[in-house]
């Protein structure tokens, strides 16, 4: 099988990730931050190093700003529901994943907030920024947007959006689900208030891991409370990060695997990974476009305006049928709406969905060439 569904989760993982997880199961089996015995302290030490690795990677002020959560969706829910106040307004973009849209819509339906979707203009960051500026209202309490669309690969100018938001004293949360490990994020330099990221995509960690990184987490209300191993005499949730958002036992094998994944990306460098994957996607784009048999919805997905993924359709064919045919030919891709109906609405594909292809650092040009050939073969049927 040639796996090109890396936008859903990367596969394979680097061997050092599974090695770190195995070591965690064998050597660090005690609950960290709960006791003072040797193995608990050694486990806590390993988790602390994972926080340091993540903080360095995202330019967070310190390791204590990194909370480990289950996935990016959980992190986004924690920020969105923790930041908004009744009667307030939220700005988001028109290409968001349901991890952002469903929490916003749930809050809207409960009468707690209103929200505005700012229009994204691919390749024109000034226009996108202007749309965000126009969306901000006097009662806007949060801006939450993706750094890159999981359907179209469109990159949003989050650094400029952050500067804009701060001029209006609006905190900003960035969904790095499709960008972490490919695009640089530096919280200190850009002033991003909250960064949410999955551990299992571009960071090459295991599934079931995610990151909530906050410059000042005490400003967020919590949606999950419970034991943190500290201040147990108090019935109030601790204010201090990271424990404020880590009630209950954390996923130590996953976190240590994620640490190994982040270290892998740091060694490779995001820049090289971005260049490698973008070259592959552009090669695919060129071949599909030259055939004249494939519907492509966006401009050539070149840096710096796109992250390396591509959505397409074949005329008169359902996207799920195309993905199924590709599966029969040994290619793993994802069809449908990709949990992002607003992004598909933006691209005019809400009714049909698309076939999405996304390489990883391990994908080679020959695999992408074989994929292009397979797509064109299906198109001719």
């Amino acid at each position: 099988m040639i796996y090109l569904d890396n936008a859903a989760t990367t596969y394979p993982k680097p061997p050092q990730v599974s090695a770190a997880m195995l070591e965690a199961m064998r050597k660090y089996g005690a609950n960290p931050g709960r006791a003072g015995h040797k193995m608990s302290m050694e486990t806590a030490e390993q988790v602390f190093h994972a926080r340091e690795e993540a903080a360095a990677f995202f330019g967070a002020p310190g390791p204590e700003d990194v909370s480990f959560v289950m996935n990016c969706t959980q992190a986004l829910n924690m920020v969105i529901k923790g930041a908004v106040k009744p009667g307030s307004h939220v700005v988001t973009s028109c290409v968001e994943h349901n991890a952002v849209m469903r929490p916003l819509e749930a809050l809207r339906q409960q009468g707690i907030i209103t929200y505005t979707e700012a229009k994204v203009v691919p390749g024109d960051n000034d226009a996108t920024l202007n749309a965000f500026r126009e969306a901000i209202q006097p009662n806007t309490s949060l801006c939450v947007c993706t750094q890159a669309s999981n359907v179209w690969g469109i990159r949003l100018p989050v650094e400029r959006i952050a500067a804009l938001c701060h001029a209006y004293e609006v905190p900003i949360c960035v969904d790095c689900a499709q960008s972490a490990g490919v695009l640089p994020v530096n919280m200190k330099d850009t002033g991003l208030d909250y960064v949410c990221a999955p551990g299992h995509k571009g960071l090459y960690g295991p599934m079931g891991t995610g990151l909530l990184i906050a410059q000042d987490g005490s400003k967020l209300s919590t949606i999950i409370e419970g034991g943190t191993g500290t201040s147990s005499e108090s019935l109030e949730q601790p204010e201090g990060m990271p424990e404020r958002f880590e009630s209950g036992t954390i996923n130590v094998p996953g976190i240590l695997g994620l640490r190994a994944g982040i270290a892998f990306v740091r060694r490779k460098t995001e820049k090289r990974i971005y260049q490698h994957e973008s070259a592959l996607v552009c090669m695919l784009y060129d071949r599909l476009r030259a055939s004249g048999k494939v519907e492509l919805y966006m401009p050539r997905p070149e840096p710096p305006y796109f992250v390396p993924l591509l959505s397409f359709n074949l005329p008169n064919k359902d996207s799920e049928d195309v993905a199924a045919a590709l599966n029969q030919m040994g290619f793993a891709v994802r069809a449908g709406l990709h949990c992002a109906p607003r992004a598909h609405n933006f691209g005019g594909t809400l009714e049909r969905g698309t076939v999405r292809v996304c390489p990883s650092v391990f994908t080679v040009p020959a695999q992408m060439a074989a994929f292009a050939q397979a797509v064109l073969k299906i198109a001719e049927k």
Partner: protein, 71 residues
């Protein structure tokens, strides 16, 4: 008499220990003892020497120091 600087969590204890090491101060993490005036369930940084200086360094580094314990 053992000097323990009490902090909010094991994460802050580890960060604090690294900061003190960088200042040439030996520091070790310990679980808080349960006593009538401290309910336990927390962590502290044991500093064999230069405890006052260590506490000052931690405060200047924005480590939330909850207090000191001697026993």
């Amino acid at each position: 008499m053992k000097q323990l600087i009490i902090v909010g969590s094991v994460t802050y204890a580890m960060k604090g220990r690294e900061i003190l090491f960088n200042h040439g101060i030996r520091a070790y993490i310990e679980r808080l003892p349960r006593t009538p005036d401290t309910p336990g369930c927390g962590y502290g940084i044991y500093v064999p020497e230069r405890a006052d200086e260590a506490e000052q360094i931690l405060r200047e580094a924005d480590i939330h120091v909850l207090g000191r314990k001697e026993w």
